[in-house]
């Protein structure tokens, strides 16, 4: 009985010890610095459509390296609120290894070297009628979600952060 209790105690201490070791070792932890994002830029425009761009810096602030398996930008523009233009495309890519095809190439971020980078977010608006600049004159605040998937030391997970592009920013770049 005593031997069983002793063995259980040892096992429990071992589990506790391991848990503490892993807590100290930590894991990757990605921080998307949405409050430090760049001002909105008008990247390209024709009469009917426009592409706007912004940059969101991020860092791996964790104690281990981690992989961003996927990052998806999800702007939420309800037609009940704004219907002069449609948000027809939303892409995100890495500044250090930019792509134009909308594919997110999985990227590893060690915590001691390349532990930071910048997301480049592009949103394309297409006027439903007439000129895009006139259509965007009435643009509203646009909530944008960033969903991301991480594979690090432990089980993969997804998480989300978000920010808002204010209507004043749209007015500034569309000259309204």
């Amino acid at each position: 009985m005593y031997i069983l209790g002793f063995l259980l105690l040892i096992a429990g201490l071992a589990v506790l010890g391991l848990a503490m070791v892993f807590r100290v070792k930590g894991d990757a932890d990605f921080l998307f610095q949405v409050n430090d994002r760049s001002p909105l830029e008008l990247e390209e425009s024709d009469r009917q459509s426009a592409v706007i761009l912004l940059r969101v810096p991020f860092r791996n602030i964790g104690a281990q390296q981690g992989t961003l398996m996927d990052v998806i930008v999800r702007p939420l523009l309800a037609c009940e609120q704004f219907s002069a233009a449609e948000l027809t495309n939303a892409k995100v890519t890495l500044a250090s290894k930019p792509r134009t095809d909308g594919y997110w190439e999985a990227a590893l971020f060690p915590d001691d070297k390349l532990d930071s980078d910048v997301l480049i977010v592009r949103l394309k608006f297409t006027a439903l009628q007439g000129d895009i600049r006139l259509a965007m004159a009435g643009m509203v605040d646009l909530p944008v979600g960033l969903y991301y998937q991480v594979v690090a030391r432990d089980i993969w997970y997804t998480s989300k952060t978000s920010f808002v592009i204010r209507e004043e920013e749209f007015r500034r770049i569309f000259g309204a």
Binding site: T67, L108, V151
Partner: protein, 220 residues
């Protein structure tokens, strides 16, 4: 030993090969015109593995407790440092074998001897590529080592009518390993020939390298 000065290394570009491709058919399609009876055809091991369907998404894997614990003790840059890499090694080599290899590796590390874990964990353990280890669209999967690389090499040699064939694992860090060859080839010599990574980086899409004039260089 071959006179390396007589050798010419010819990388061959292909489209992205997938699990729907047969590696021997692909080599025939892309390199038939370039390969002669004196040549050796080398193919990158990760591409062979992909054509064999030997890859898995982390989302389709369920690391057990042993994998989640043991991976923590490997250096962060190791492919088995993630729970998925370690689980992949256990799936291939067996959980008991990998756990025992870990214990032996840890014990021998204490006396300054490294590499024992990979030696004992099974041949696949050192071949597993973690996510980001391969170019898109395989950047999000674990790629295992190829199965039966010697047989693959023999099949390539037979189809192409060349002097020999090899399945190689080479990188830009002056590390080369030959995983399988057709009969009669010296893996160590092939490693020396391939040490400067004529396969190039992933984006170049040149998984096939032809060592031209090998027979003549050996006889020379």
């Amino acid at each position: 030993m071959a006179d390396l000065r007589e050798l010419q290394l010819v990388p061959v570009k292909t489209r992205i090969l997938t699990q729907k491709d047969d590696i021997v058919d692909s080599i025939d399609r892309y390199a038939r015109q370039l390969v002669g009876p004196d040549d050796i055809v080398c193919v990158a091991e990760s591409v062979v593995a992909i054509t064999q369907g030997r890859f898995k998404r982390p989302e389709d894997m369920h690391p057990g407790l042993w994998a989640r614990v043991l991976c923590r003790f490997l250096p962060r840059e190791a492919s088995l440092s993630s729970a998925y890499g370690m689980q992949a090694a256990m799936d291939e080599g067996g959980t008991v074998r990998v756990v025992l290899a870990f214990i032996a590796g840890a014990a021998t590390k204490l006396v300054g001897k490294s590499g024992v874990f990979y030696t004992l964990a099974g041949p696949q353990a050192s071949l597993i590529d973690d996510v980001t280890g391969t170019m898109p669209p395989f950047d999000k999967v674990m790629v295992y080592g190829p199965k039966d690389p010697d047989k693959v090499a023999e099949a390539i040699k037979s189809r192409m009518g060349c002097y020999g064939a090899a399945v190689a694992d080479v990188n830009d860090l002056k590390r080369a390993a030959v995983l399988g060859t057709s009969a009669g080839l010296d893996p160590d010599e092939l490693c020396r020939i391939l040490i400067d990574n004529p396969f190039g980086n992933d984006n170049q899409q040149t998984p096939i390298v032809i060592i031209k004039n090998y027979r003549a260089a050996v006889r020379g």
